[in-house]
């Protein structure tokens, strides 16, 4: 197994057995394949005391004792380092990274290299205690071989901090569940997690953002400039914007309210009136609502169209023209029903006593959901218009804040 740490500082010996200098760093470039290939090395020249480059094709052999060249040092080829090239020691070694498989923040103890297609590649990161001991130089006699090596494949690694700019956002990162990603972000400093969120697509960023704990939300928001703030807020459902606004002082609130779109602003302002520990404070507007005159096919069509902007869709509320709640249709019903049926025929009617007012307290909301086995509870105003819904996960989050 080849490790970066074995080579740091080893002598560079040319074909005439003359020592040219000592290794400073490897430089790699990300190509079309997932693993960056080594372009060459940077070494400190003995004569000029400056750092010089050597192309990988000039290297004959790499070992822990030294790096030998195919030619004399004068004939060896150098190469040009571009600004987005990765320096393995400078940009990766000892830095914090996100382990996308274990979804956690770890530190790079060593960089694992491997040869494929006749080229040296970065294939993974060593995060094990054994890697740490190797770096400390106490693993010479392999007495710690009982410690398991722990590698992360390169495509399961996400750089953070300054090195984030050098490697794009990993495809694996986007595949993570927003809640897992939020957990990772919480263990980074607000600056680092802020820059990682900013590098995501705004819609994804908003999804991740919703999963953060409120104190982290505030700290991370502080690192955004007004434009970034606006684009994320635009993707957040109104109730999330309200939760965030509750953390702010009055004048800051006004500033952000001013930057929202007209419709959202109205909803948010309405929501802000409700106390935090009531159905009104907890409800969301992030659910599907359709007109009772639609058919099953139309409804499914509609769900296909808008599903991208919802965290989850388990059911659809049915309302009439005046926005009065009539009933609910589950996805299951939609699948098994006749496609040409009218929604009114297949929906389950909701009785008034199975709904709540925005002022209803948390405890009553919880009791109601338990009694009727509901995943969500509709919130109606005085004239029975549908305002929002309390979701079971939001309620759980409120009752078990530590989870």
């Amino acid at each position: 197994m080849l490790f970066l740490s074995q080579f740091l500082n080893v002598p560079i010996v040319d074909s005439a057995d003359a020592v040219a200098g000592r290794l400073v760093d490897f430089v790699a470039r990300t190509g079309p394949d997932n693993y960056p290939h080594i372009l060459g090395i940077v070494y400190k020249d003995y004569l000029t005391k400056t750092e010089k480059t050597l192309g990988y094709e000039s290297i004959e052999n790499l070992s822990g004792d030294g790096i030998t060249l195919k030619t004399t040092i004068l004939k060896a080829k150098n190469f040009e380092i571009l600004s987005h090239d990765l320096w393995l020691k400078k940009h990766i070694l000892d830095k914090q990274i996100v382990d996308l498989e274990g979804t956690r923040v770890v530190r790079v103890n060593d960089v694992r290299l491997g040869i494929s297609d006749n080229r040296l590649h970065v294939i993974g990161i060593d995060i094990s205690t054994r890697g740490l001991l190797r770096r400390l130089g106490v693993d010479k006699f392999r007495i710690f071989s009982f410690l398991q090596p722990l590698f992360i494949e390169w495509d399961k690694v996400q750089m953070v901090g300054k090195s984030l700019k050098l490697t794009k956002v990993s495809r694996e990162l986007i595949k993570l569940h927003p809640a897992d990603l939020a957990n990772v972000l919480e263990s980074l400093s607000p600056r680092h997690s802020g820059s990682l969120i900013k590098s995501l697509h705004p819609a994804m960023a908003a999804k991740v953002f919703q999963e953060l704990k409120s104190e982290h939300k505030r700290d991370i928001f502080k690192t955004f400039d007004p434009q970034q703030l606006e684009s994320i807020l635009a993707h957040l459902p109104a109730d999330e914007v309200v939760d965030y606004l509750r953390l702010l002082a009055r004048d800051e609130r006004q500033k952000i309210l001013g930057s929202l779109g007209e419709n959202k602003k109205k909803t948010v302002e309405e929501f802000l009136h409700y106390a935090e520990n009531t159905a009104g404070g907890l409800m969301t507007t992030e659910f599907l609502k359709i007109n009772h005159t639609w058919t099953v096919a139309e409804t499914i069509q509609y769900i296909r169209k808008v599903s991208g902007s919802f965290r989850s869709i388990l059911f659809v509320y049915v309302v009439n023209e005046k926005n009065h709640l009539l009933g609910v249709v589950s996805l299951r019903t939609l699948i098994i029903s006749n496609q040409s049926d009218h929604i009114e025929k297949v929906m389950k009617r909701i009785k008034l006593h199975q709904t709540v007012h925005p002022e209803t307290g948390l405890k009553d909301v919880a009791t109601m959901m338990t009694r009727y086995n509901l995943m969500s509870l509709a919130v109606l105003d005085q004239s029975h218009r549908l305002l929002g819904a309390v979701m079971v996960d939001d309620l759980l989050g409120k009752l078990m804040p530590k989870a």
């Binding site: 956690r104 790079v108 103890n109 740490l132 263990s187 400093s189 607000p190 700290d219 991370i220 690192t223």
Partner: protein, 416 residues
């Protein structure tokens, strides 16, 4: 009516806590068990003679804390992380080992403080120390760290009584002011040990780590620099104002009557002019709160710093399996110091002073790392040190190393 009033008052109280920044918390925690006992001994054994050291150390404290804060703002990482990224594994292992030893010393002082405060009432340490260790662990593991910290922070503000007491004893302020500017030194081990403890309890390795993590955790930015700087300077000033009054209180009472401090009871005598017979209770309460505050913060701070440097998972929301290093370090740094305090016949006051010496002697190592980092353009950009900061910091480092060297020489020669 009453409820309404609380409702209106609550935001103000919240605001109060939000402006308490790292400078003031660090200042408060500086006056822990080791701090109170060291300052008491300085005043009781040497009167006003060491005030000049305190005067100079105030500047060193302000400068070093400001540097730590600035590194945090620029790098957005804890000190351990920055050392790891720029000096590599070996150096960070060395720095972490240094910090661990210093912190274990300080935690030992905290448990000694707990023991000493109860021994005033004749309650044995074999009961109080295991109990305190257990309580600390339970609250860290099960309870709310933040709320507990706030409670003890408020309790430990008891040191204000030293300021009032400082006026009640009617000391000679003219003389005290003169002593601030009059260097005095004895080339004896006992004097030097006390002096290094005085420096080591005021500027601490953990304080350096603490202030940096604090600004990182709060997500503060370079644009907050001016406000933070003012807060840090104020914190340094506040710490040493309190230290000043503890020293003049003990100087005007114990030193005047030639009483040496052998245990906490003696140190409590300094509060008699203000509190009369109540002095012992007051002192015991203050010492206990201050010790508990330190006993809470330090094991966690130690574990955070080490885990950050080595990339181990940390935080109380990690599982035992993932956070095994984190929990092990915390358990070790509670259990080991508690066991040391339980050694029969060990002098609690001696532990408290010597632990501060360990801090003082190890401090230059940490400060040299800080200096290397803060003057590195690659790390700090335009925020490197100004010459005046470098001069004060290097004088502090050289001063401590010099005092330590002389201490070793005089001890070997058997002077004093």
């Amino acid at each position: 009516m009453f409820k309404e009033r609380i409702k209106r008052l609550a935001p103000r109280l919240l605001f109060f806590f939000s402006v308490i920044g790292p400078g003031i918390i660090a200042a408060n925690a500086d006056n822990d068990a080791g701090g109170i006992s060291t300052y008491s001994i300085v005043g009781a054994h040497y009167g006003l003679k060491m005030l000049w050291v305190l005067f100079l150390v105030t500047f060193s404290l302000a400068i070093t804390q400001e540097m730590g804060m600035r590194i945090g703002l620029v790098t957005r990482q804890g000190l351990g992380g920055v050392i790891r990224e720029h000096f590599g594994v070996r150096w960070v292992a060395f720095a972490m080992f240094t910090m661990l030893i210093a912190n274990l010393g300080t935690i030992t002082a905290e448990f000694s403080g707990v023991a000493a405060s109860f021994e005033i009432f004749g309650i044995t340490k074999y009961l109080t120390v295991p109990l305190a260790a257990f309580v600390v662990w339970m609250i860290l593991y099960k309870g709310s760290f933040k709320n507990t910290q706030k409670i003890f922070l408020i309790f430990s503000a008891f040191y204000i009584v030293y300021i009032i007491n400082g006026f009640v004893v009617k000391p000679d302020f003219a003389e005290a002011t003169k002593a601030l500017f009059t260097p005095y030194i004895e080339w004896t081990p006992t004097f030097l040990i006390t002096m290094i403890a005085l420096i080591g309890t005021t500027i601490t390795p953990w304080g350096q780590f603490f202030i940096q993590s604090y600004v990182v955790d709060k997500g503060l930015d370079v644009k907050h620099y001016k406000a933070e700087k003012a807060e840090v300077y104020f914190g340094a000033f506040l710490t040493d104002i309190v230290s000043f009054f503890i020293i003049i209180s003990t100087a005007a009472t114990l030193y005047k009557h030639g009483i040496n401090i052998h245990d906490a009871k003696d140190a409590a005598l300094a509060l008699r002019p203000l509190a009369g017979d109540f002095a012992q209770y007051l002192f015991a309460f203050g010492l206990f709160s201050a010790s508990m505050l330190g006993a809470f913060i330090l094991p966690v701070a130690t574990a955070y710093a080490i885990c950050e440097a080595f990339g181990w998972e940390y935080g109380f929301n990690t599982t035992w399996k993932n956070g095994k290093y984190f929990y092990s370090i915390i358990l070790l740094s509670i259990a080991l110091p508690a066991l040391v305090v339980l050694i029969p016949k060990v002098s609690l006051i001696t532990i408290m002073i010597l632990s501060q010496d360990v801090n003082g002697i190890l401090l230059p190592i940490i400060l040299i790392f800080v200096m290397k980092i803060i003057n590195n353009k690659e790390i700090m950009g335009e925020h490197t040190n100004k010459p005046i900061g470098n001069v004060i910091a290097w004088l502090t480092i050289i001063g401590i190393i010099g005092a330590t060297a002389i201490l070793v020489v005089t001890s070997l020669l058997g002077i004093g």
